[in-house]
Amino acid sequence: MLERLPVLQRWVGDTRLLTGVYWGLAWGSLGLLGYWVMQLGLPIFREGWVGISWGFLAEEPLRSGRAGGIGSILLATAWIVGICLMTALPLSLGTAILFRQFQREAPRLIVLIRHCLDVLAGVPSIVFGLFGYAFFCQFMGLGFSILAGGLTLACMILPVMIRVLEESLAAVPLAYEWGAVSLGLSRVGILLNLLLPRALPGLIGAIIIGLGRAFAETAALLFTSGYVDRWPQSVMDSGRALSVHVYDLTMNVPGGERSAYASALALVLTLLIINTIALACLHILQRRTPANAALSLGRSR
């Protein structure tokens, strides 16, 4: 982090005016940001809080959502996100490990694949929605289902998770692996005892990022998991995610503002809780592992 320049030094010199301009720009931007956050946050909290209750969280929506609650929707969302993570995590972990192994053998192929993943990460979510519709719903015959929605989301968060996991694995110095290989240790053992424990913070980070994106995603679910807001009986049932519910209430249901506020608040609160848990986990992890600064092994020979 850049040192904060002492106050005197900021105003010394013939660029006093320029410094002042920069200073004004900074504070002005902050003012705009603050104003906007207030505008954004206050209504949602104020109006939404009124609507939230335990009943709201447990009942299913009535009258297209104008009344009742979001119980069934929460369940559907949980299933969708659950399927998404359960699919994406092993796949991305496998790919990240693969990258690390192939790094030496075919570095140019890895660079190419990495670029492809970067492109994939930037593809708009609606395109993933279309893909999910064409592939999972129609080609694989899953129809509008929670399963299709979860799998589509998994495809969507895969590039990001691979990148995060790959970076956290790469942070483990190679010297440990040389030592392990020279002792004749198995690849599985190296992975479980050396790589994964060190990559755990990154792993949790990846999970959190994945969770966050999955909860917030709407466009990819519109055509894959469907619109039905009843209690889902199985993963093959159509189900509505919370974000889709907010969209529906806003655009298609006149008089649905109250529920929309409450649902939006529920969504925001869920994300806040996830973030807090993530930070707590990372904090605990950092306290457990002793200062590794004692052993500063370089990454390459």
Binding site: V181, L183, G184, N193, L295
Partner: protein, 274 residues
């Protein structure tokens, strides 16, 4: 039992095995990294139960030579090794060789101490349990044995389950050596084991190596000529000839230092070049 210039017998764990003149035989060993040849036609034979010092200026392939002995060169896909290395009845460069078994018999200690970021106990216990099926008490026994062998036991017995990274540099290096000898190898390869350590730790390690020479065959790469002279029974001199590394001379320590054949060796050991 110390071996002199020529080994007649070598001893392990207190009893003598069949006499064997040359324990390790290397023939026409050449190593390429991609297009570049780093070692050219190394011929050597080393006798057992001794310390062999590999000396020579930087970049002449000493570490590469060491890496071929435990097939660590396999880790580099662009690396090509030709020739033959025989250790007893084992042909090391055989493609079908079980390298994991090989690496149990041939251990390696690196220049910068690299204990695993695990507890001291697990640093030794994990490789043990991977190679052999042992009961918990057997493992504990072997761990203690290894730590005693390197002289670490008294220093760490109260904190076996603390992280190995909290040890000093010298202690970490001794832990790495303990990790190797717990597997009961026949050969230990050491790549400049003391260069990252302070003089006091160096002294401790050298003492340890002296102690271990009766049980294992040690091959030590070192830049420190004085160290080579102190420790080694045999010396192998490497040099860069026409752009790639070659073994130009090897033999008993006394002869190499006092009456070398090669002029380059003479110049190197008297400090004139290198």
């Amino acid at each position: 039992m110390k071996n002199g210039a020529g080994a007649d017998a070598y001893c392990r764990d207190g009893f003598c095995v069949l006499p064997s003149r040359s324990f390790l035989e290397v023939q026409k060993l050449s190593v390429w990294y991609g297009e570049r040849q780093v070692l050219k036609e190394v011929h050597a034979s080393f006798s057992a139960c001794s310390i062999v010092a590999l000396i020579g200026p930087s970049g002449c392939g000493k570490t590469t030579f060491l890496s071929t002995l435990n097939r660590l060169t396999d880790l580099y896909p662009s690396c090509r090794v030709t020739g033959s290395i025989r250790m007893g009845d084992l042909s090391i460069l055989e493609p079908k060789l079980d390298v994991r078994r090989l690496r149990k018999r041939v251990g390696m200690v690196f220049q910068k101490p690299n204990p695993f970021p695990l507890s001291i106990y697990r640093n030794i216990a994990w490789p043990l349990s991977e190679h052999q099926r042992l009961r918990k008490d057997e493992i504990a026994y072997r761990v203690e044995l290894a730590l005693r062998d390197v002289g670490l036991w008294e220093e760490v017995k109260d904190r076996l389950h603390h992280s190995a990274l909290q040890l000093s540099g010298g202690q970490q290096q001794r832990l790495c050596i303990a990790r190797c000898i717990a597997l009961e190898p026949e050969v230990i390869l050491l790549d400049e084991p003391c260069s990252a350590l302070d003089p006091l730790a160096t002294e401790t390690i050298e003492g340890l190596l002296q102690k271990l020479r009766s049980r294992y065959h040690l091959m030590v790469v070192t830049h420190n000529l004085a160290q080579a002279r102190r420790l080694a029974d045999e010396v192998a001199v490497f040099w860069v000839v026409e752009g790639c590394g070659r073994l130009i001379e090897n033999g008993p320590t006394e002869r190499i230092f006092l009456d070398p054949i090669e002029p380059r060796t003479r110049a190197y050991v008297s400090g004139l070049i290198g």
